[in-house]
């Protein structure tokens, strides 16, 4: 019974839609009191890569006008017939054509639909979609980029010039040596998991740098090392790093290329494989460093279950709580990059870290200064109309190009 009612309702609504559609498709006669889109303007969208034109209009109505149901936008190039390119709700008075061909001049007509029919606007002026070289709204990003890169380059040059750049010791780094030492004493392997992402992920890069340090320790002690990877390029890079580490401590002949191997790119396939390795090979030290997602707790829990020392680190804030809860030592966020710089003592990495530190201090000063200035502004004029309050508000909005 319920189904019949539903079918009948749907048929009724369908008939209504057909009838309504046929009525709405009828053009209204000129001189009626129909509402109409007027003053239609079309302009190139500024600060973009081309291919977009913004169309806007005003709605002219009278008290006797039937209500607008929707607007339909038609476009034509010289010598062509207008074609419909989109519709917007009756509450909108603008539309963005994002499929305009660069180099083609277009004109636009806005068709106003009512329950009684439709009426077309006068065509807009001609518009051409062009690309701009500079997006003015992104000027703050450019300035920030110059400051970040400038400070990093400055410190890299200083580091290469032999300047002593201090970096505080990262908590948890001592545990790296302890973990490798314990694995050696127990005669069990070290498992190094460099995350599930590709080599272009910065977290993976930091993990690979730390792998070099771990591989050196492992090579010195003659401890077996296992590095399962989820990406072929990460595997290739990790093989290079481990091979290099063995060579640097004069143990090239002990390097086993098969110790760095590929499992699968599939997130949970990789997790299942690493879990299997943990319970069968029983590593004494498990390193979980790099990019991790939902598998973080599964891996950390399995490592805990087999009694291994777990040293973890990722920049993924959503996964850090799981590592903090389940692992013995965790490198939180940027600590993983600082650790790789600290261990490698590479001028480029040291300079990069120092440059970022300078930017952080700059951000702290910027926030504190503007907050104090804005607060003084509100103290002067509680309704926020003082010049100081407005200047702070404008500066904050400018940062994101708003």
């Amino acid at each position: 019974m319920g189904h019949r009612r539903l079918v009948a309702t749907l048929v009724f609504l369908g008939v209504l839609a057909l009838v309504g559609g046929s009525v709405a498709a009828r053009p209204l006669e000129e001189g009626t009191s129909a509402p109409c889109a007027c003053s239609v303007s079309a302009n190139d969208v500024p600060d973009d890569g081309g291919g977009a034109i913004s169309v806007s209009w005003d709605l002219a109505t009278t008290d006797a006008s039937p209500s607008v149901t929707r607007f339909e936008i038609l476009r034509y190039a010289t010598g062509e017939e207008p074609v419909s390119i989109g519709e917007v709700l009756s509450t909108n008075t603008d539309f963005q054509d994002v499929n305009a061909d660069g180099g083609t001049i277009y004109q636009y007509i806005v068709r106003t639909h009512t329950r009684d029919g439709f009426i077309d606007s006068v065509p807009s002026d001609a518009a051409l979609a062009t690309a701009q070289w500079f997006a003015h709204g992104r000027a703050p990003s450019l300035i920030a980029l110059i400051l970040v890169c400038g400070s990093i380059i400055f410190f890299i040059i200083r580091a290469k010039g032999g300047a002593e750049l201090f970096i505080r010791k990262i908590p948890g780094l001592d545990a790296v040596d302890d973990a490798v030492g314990r694995a050696t004493e127990m005669g069990r392997p070290v498992l190094y998991v460099p995350g599930i992402e590709t080599v272009s992920e910065v977290g993976t890069l930091a993990a690979l740098t730390i792998l070099g340090h771990v591989a050196k320790k492992v090579a010195q002690h003659g401890t077996p090392l296992l590095v399962p990877t989820a990406d072929p390029i990460v595997m290739t890079t990790a093989q290079e790093i481990v091979k290099q580490a063995y060579a640097e401590v004069g143990q090239s002949d002990r390097f086993d290329p098969s110790s760095v191997f590929y499992l699968t790119y599939d997130q949970f396939g990789y997790t299942a494989g690493v879990d299997g390795i943990m319970v069968r090979e029983r590593p004494e030290a498990v390193f979980l460093l790099g990019y991790f997602a939902a598998e973080s707790l599964i891996l950390a829990e399995t490592a805990h279950e087999i009694g291994a020392i777990q040293i973890s680190g990722t920049k993924e804030t959503s996964q850090l709580p799981f590592f903090v809860a389940a692992c013995d030592y965790t490198l939180i966020g940027e600590e993983i990059f600082a650790a790789s710089s600290y261990l490698s003592h590479e001028p480029i990495m040291l300079g990069s870290l120092k440059g970022q530190d300078l930017i952080k201090i700059g951000i702290v000063y910027l926030i504190v200064t503007l907050v104090i200035a804005g607060s003084i502004g509100y103290a002067i004029s509680p309704d926020g109309t003082s010049t100081l309050s407005r200047a702070v508000e404008a500066a904050a909005l400018w940062l994101t190009g708003s």
């Binding site: 920030a144 505080r168 699968t264 990789y270 299942a272 299997g276």
Partner: protein, 211 residues
């Protein structure tokens, strides 16, 4: 009426789900079977995926269909991909570092702009919250400002955490841990929904206990 293939597929999926879940007890032959099947099938799946959804449409088909400059520019990533295979030949294995360097460079270059534009500047803007009086909203804003500033102090590596910096860093780590606690609870709820999804499959699709 379900087809025989559907029935076999559902039972197979049910068996593999239980085999994977059996790891909660301990490592066993069923888990080993499911694990090796999963790793092997997924590795094969990604090989086919890359071949037919990356290499074929983006490299081969584009090369065949494009004309002019676009046709030849496609050869650059193609060549970089082929150079990766140089690792098979020890004498020219060093060539494989070129595409790796290219990949890393592109990733870092795109990442720095995206992070500045998408994270750093919006967060700085959202933290510039002048205090307008002594309201609850002002207290909330003040906590937010202190949280951001002290967390940045924790992640400052150029000086030892002593004195003012040390005090700020200690407050910062409290904010970090509070946010981790909130994130832990939030994510745990999402994981429970995944578990419910799997149990629903077992009880609804496989055992048909649930309607």
């Amino acid at each position: 009426m379900d087809s025989m293939g559907m029935i076999i597929g559902t039972w197979l999926a049910g068996f593999l789900t239980l085999a994977i879940l059996s790891f909660l007890y301990k490592d066993n032959p069923f888990y080993k079977l499911a694990e090796h099947l999963y790793v092997g099938v997924s590795a094969g799946y990604w090989l086919i995926y890359v071949a037919f959804f990356d290499i074929k449409p983006m490299l081969i088909d584009t090369f065949m269909s494009e004309t002019g400059f676009e046709k030849w520019i496609i050869l650059i990533p193609g060549a970089l991909g082929l150079i990766m295979l140089s690792r098979w030949f020890p004498k020219i294995a060093w060539l494989s570092r070129w595409p790796i360097a290219f990949t890393v460079g592109i990733g870092a270059g795109l990442g720095i702009t995206a992070n500045l534009q998408g994270y750093v500047l919006p967060q700085v803007q959202a933290t510039i919250l002048p205090l307008t009086g002594f309201t609850v909203a002002d207290l909330s804003n003040l906590i937010l400002i202190i949280g951001v500033v002290t967390t940045l102090m924790y992640f400052y590596f150029s000086k030892p955490h002593k004195g003012l910096l040390g005090g700020g860093a200690k407050i910062g780590i409290v904010f970090i841990m509070v946010s981790f606690g909130a994130s832990f609870g939030y994510t745990l709820m999402a994981r429970i929904s995944l578990l419910i999804g799997r149990l629903y499959f077992l009880f609804h699709d496989l055992l048909r206990i649930l309607d």
